[in-house]
Symmetry: C2
Subunit: 316 residues, 2 copies
Amino acid sequence: MNRLLSIACFGLAVVVVSGCQHAAPPTAKAKAPIMAEVLSNSTPADWRALDPENTIYMELASGRVVIELAPAFAPNYVANVKALAREHYYDGLAIIRVQDNYVVQWADPNAEKPDKARKIQHAHATLPAEFDRPFDANLPFTPLPDKDVYAPEVGFSGGFPVARDPHTGKMWLVHCYGMVGAGRDNAPDSGGGTELYAVIGHAPRQLDRNVTLLGRVVQGMELLSSLPRGTGAMGFYEKPEQMLPIKSIRVAADVPEAERSNLEILRTDTATFRELIESRRNRREPWFQMPAGRIEIGNVPVPVRVRGAGATKKQQ
Amino acid sequence: MNRLLSIACFGLAVVVVSGCQHAAPPTAKAKAPIMAEVLSNSTPADWRALDPENTIYMELASGRVVIELAPAFAPNYVANVKALAREHYYDGLAIIRVQDNYVVQWADPNAEKPDKARKIQHAHATLPAEFDRPFDANLPFTPLPDKDVYAPEVGFSGGFPVARDPHTGKMWLVHCYGMVGAGRDNAPDSGGGTELYAVIGHAPRQLDRNVTLLGRVVQGMELLSSLPRGTGAMGFYEKPEQMLPIKSIRVAADVPEAERSNLEILRTDTATFRELIESRRNRREPWFQMPAGRIEIGNVPVPVRVRGAGATKKQQ
């Protein structure tokens, strides 16, 4: 009993959207579907394969973390992370920090020891910040119908959570769970991708426009989020033996096709995705007594599945 | 280098709040303090000890999870959880579910097997829902100055994140990271505290007013959040050997004083706490390039420290 939060229940609540309740029988249109139904009604065109040229694999002893890169928002950082991966810069580096409800971070543990630090061959050590980008009406953007605490508009573009400000003419990626960014020192241009982090807690939106986001974990998030928290200041591991080695980071295009993670992601520029947002704003599963009627961007899932499986990998 | 997100940097940004920048030298009042300064300037009266009668300890092999209970919001559930603890109902039960970016849940693994299920002696198996409570102007309430996506008003009451709706005359606890609630089946009155959960991800605010929250983890959160994720549907562990045994749950008042966790929490009904909120709305640490100027309730920390230590246990 008490199997709390039975959010995957596949019951179907019929909701008459017309005011004429006495006249209209429930029609297909009048049913507000739950997410499982939205996904099972989706067509192949609602999904897109990950682009191997904009996907990286972080290989850990525990498995693979798949990160989709966001060249539309951080073109130079994305190019540099790929360049670093292609010169095998990250191989043998480590996860050095896990701060609860905040970030997992990986880097060269010897980055501050000039004699021991990993040498960069062709990539850049640092780059100018890419905290935001000019507003581009040609970039797909599916807005959330609800307000946001931090930005004038939020929504999704190419699978990524995005904010826009029509007044400043800027748009930017936002710090939701699983987003990946490039660590930096105090100077805005002191990052470059040699040190990366992923969000493992409540969306730390105060970081938006303060640090360059460049991608999102689309599979293997639990390999990062379940790591032991570091006991040093800000969650840094205090002893080298606590750090988790990174076997390698590779651009998916450089991995033999048979060894790639064959994933596809629900497109976010479709009627299906808008329907999914609605299914999460108003939860119609029988467990819910009071649908919220609104949603924060951090609570909108972007489903991922194994290609051709026809079933979602993850339904939260 | 690149020690990203150096949010604990103790630098001091001087901000002149007056428009007369040419006239006024920076004064103490004109300095916007960072959180570390707010805390180091706090007085003993800004802190309160946990009430042992409204604190429970969940003992795991890895350590102790300390949960502060919220009798002002869920009086009957709190009383029942204490009654269950006092009859040792939870001892030997287990963590049965860890769903990434969602919840950790503990219960009787045999709850649905009548012959094997743990028997309740004096406590209640189920209770009427306590999803919200009547608005009470006498309850302390420190509002956030910013809007909330889900509720007309949010703020803090007695250390807990709370929403209020003046129109319906209701107030309720909200699902922030670390909040603890009572699992239930589809019927609103099917919970009672035999099955409990803690939030380990982005605040799942869609659960607000759908399930009874009754407390908050104030120490030991990382013992829950870093657990291996369950691979079954909704993060349930699939094999008994994956479940993490609960050694015991005790009311702190029943634990010998020398064995209690001697913690104190920053009061949330003080000028100091309002100053802390402001220090998090506008981050003045030198790392930040663009203070957000606003904050979501899920991003407001409620500091906890060892009593008499004079230093915060945790600064995120």
